[in-house]
Symmetry: C2
Subunit: 364 residues, 2 copies
């Protein structure tokens, strides 16, 4: 049987250096666990723009549609701030999401015991926190038409369209309910049904799917503004949160920051199952390209390595091997290894990106 | 000279009981400070729906356009959850905002020294916090057309439109810059210009207004998802935050919850100056109608009383009298009076809504 295939798109800023550590972990699986991948690499974001004048070359797009999973580092940086909207680094990522049809974005917000002190929240509020946000990723205001800046009378008007079909809501709701069954069977869906008709349809369809096919799931609905409040007030009341593309963008970042350690959080973006194969999938850390520290060996590679662990679990049915990676990381943290982002005020010497990779390989 | 006129719309849930305490404060100003108001009262939200089948009667709307300021309690409750979208309690409030053209919504997120322990955040992160969020309130996705649920092929689609004209962005930016001049002259504007064209126009116009007429203002721009993160991570980096209607809804609730005491936070919604007079204005607490505790004398009237203080400052040019109210409230808190929402885990006996009113009047 052919090896499963992986496309690595390291991207911009700290993307390449954290991805270097992921490659070492991938190599380790080939050597020690007889689990080899066919790895290819390509450019995305600013790096692709510099080489080809586009944030995602068509050949790269085609390759992403062929492989079993894509691993992405990060995109963007101040160098590209003044580029035209259509070729900004982010467009490369958004094109991947859309053309791979990755409608279900899983963003865990998990607070690691060894790091609970890093949160700006009180320890008892966040210790043990383990939320999974399921964010719709291929529709809503990110992709709705009409969109653009238009002349109207003697002024300009900026327009975007929030748009959800029943089918789009239905499929992402199912993915949240499936996931919830493997956790605590509790889902909270968030929208602004008190203000937006798209939110009314969202609420109705989510409820209908639950009633028809997931009666075992405890489903609640919350307005997104209250959701933001409740995340800050008492985040442990949540298990799975289901929400749309734009609310998901904001609420998942809010939830991520509750944990205090952004450098630790992975994400998975999944499509529909393709025939017998795994679903199309893209894995990436939640953190951005951090241009201010890029190239200095300061970046924390853990979020990116945990993204690979998610790939093992969701794309390659290797849940045990995923747990192996996660356990190794917990051990390394418990032993006290810290990259610069994880240093407390009391100081100590941070480890470099490569040293963190060394420690994780040793723990494996 | 005629007394300034006030329209009180107490609304639903705890609205009427917190407003009762405001009325006592208003009466105190007439008795003791020779500052009398012509007060009229009417219905809004579910209360108006129960009486008239609409969440805002046309006569009430007309009256709101005549008076110098409107004080609103709260709208909504589970009783009205199944009403049609067009007559939900919220529509009454949204109609007031729109027809009074209250484009600038000021939402202070202030952490009271005596209450810093109530925050879910660490004390040093929030003690002394004093942010002012300026939220655009009459446009964006709340009001953009087309909107609704439509048939498309054999499924339904929910549509809302995010829409901002240059003029709408310009005027709310000016209101934020004016306000910033009376504070620290620092404004951070938030949008998703990396994903939404309406955000690109927003960023461009805000920058242009700053460069042309407010060169003394230090202006920065931030993506709204990062804004949510930064609010949780280190809120004191902000002074004035300027943002649109939907992001403002979520971010201001997030910011409010950082302070730990929602029952304390007022808001002002201001229109353009009308001739020589003050701008059209509506003042309301940030908290909702809290149907679970309504009618039990447990509600905290402070946010609503502080909303009246904002009216003194922004509508009636009585900044000193506003400060008088604020100082009285600080004193009452320092003396230890606490409604149920402000009770710590260590217990003690909470004061009732009326007792809190008594204490504030005594302190005045
Ligand atoms: C980079 C940007 C386009 C993206 C988004 O807005 O979705 C990012 O914020 C994210 O959450 O993955
Ligand atoms: C009640 C509701 C319509 C309103 C809004 O979404 O604006 C509320 O959440 C607010 O922030 O004032």
């Amino acid at each position: 049987m052919a090896n499963p295939s992986l496309l690595i798109l390291a991207g911009d800023g700290i993307g390449p250096e954290v991805m270097d550590q992921v490659k070492r972990v991938i190599a380790w699986f080939g050597d020690k666990r007889d689990l080899s991948f066919d790895v290819s690499e390509d450019l995305v974001g600013g790096a692709a723009y510099d080489a080809h004048g586009t944030p995602l070359h068509d050949d790269t797009m085609a390759r992403a549609l062929e492989v079993d999973a894509v691993l992405l580092g990060a995109v963007g940086g101040p160098k590209y701030d003044d580029l035209d909207f259509s070729v900004k680094p982010e467009r490369g990522l958004l094109r991947l999401r859309k053309e791979m049809d990755l409608f279900s974005n899983l963003r865990p917000a998990q607070c690691f015991d060894a790091l609970a002190d890093f949160s700006s929240l009180k320890k008892d509020i966040v210790a043990g926190l383990d939320i999974m946000i399921v964010r719709e990723l291929t529709s809503g205001v990110y992709f709705g038409e009409p969109r653009g800046i238009f002349e109207e009378g003697n002024e300009r008007v900026g327009i975007n369209t929030q748009r959800y079909t029943e089918g789009e809501i239905d499929r992402v709701a199912r993915s949240a309910f499936e996931l919830a069954r493997r956790r605590s069977s509790k889902v909270c869906s968030m929208e602004k049904a008190n203000v937006m008709e798209s939110g009314i349809l969202w609420r109705e369809v989510v409820q209908k799917v639950r009633d028809a096919d997931y009666p075992d799931i405890e489903l609640s609905h919350m307005y997104a503004d209250n959701g933001a409040m409740q995340l800050v007030r008492a985040p442990k009341q949540f298990d799975v949160i289901l929400t749309d593309n734009l609310f998901g963008d904001i609420l998942s970042d809010c939830a991520a920051m509750l944990t205090g350690s952004l450098g630790m959080l992975p994400s998975a973006s999944l499509g529909a199952p393709t025939g017998d194969g795994p679903p199309r999938a893209l894995y990436e850390p939640v953190h951005g390209s951090a241009p201010d520290i890029a190239g200095q060996g300061k970046a924390n590679p853990i979020a990116c390595i945990l993204s690979f662990a998610m790939a093992l679990r969701y794309s390659f049915d290797q849940g045990e091997e995923a747990t192996r990676v996660e356990t190794a990381i917990e051990k390394v943290l418990a032993d006290g290894a810290r990259t610069a982002d994880l240093m407390g005020e009391d100081g100590g010497t941070p480890v470099t990106t490569t040293q963190m990779g060394d420690a994780i390989l040793a723990a494996l």
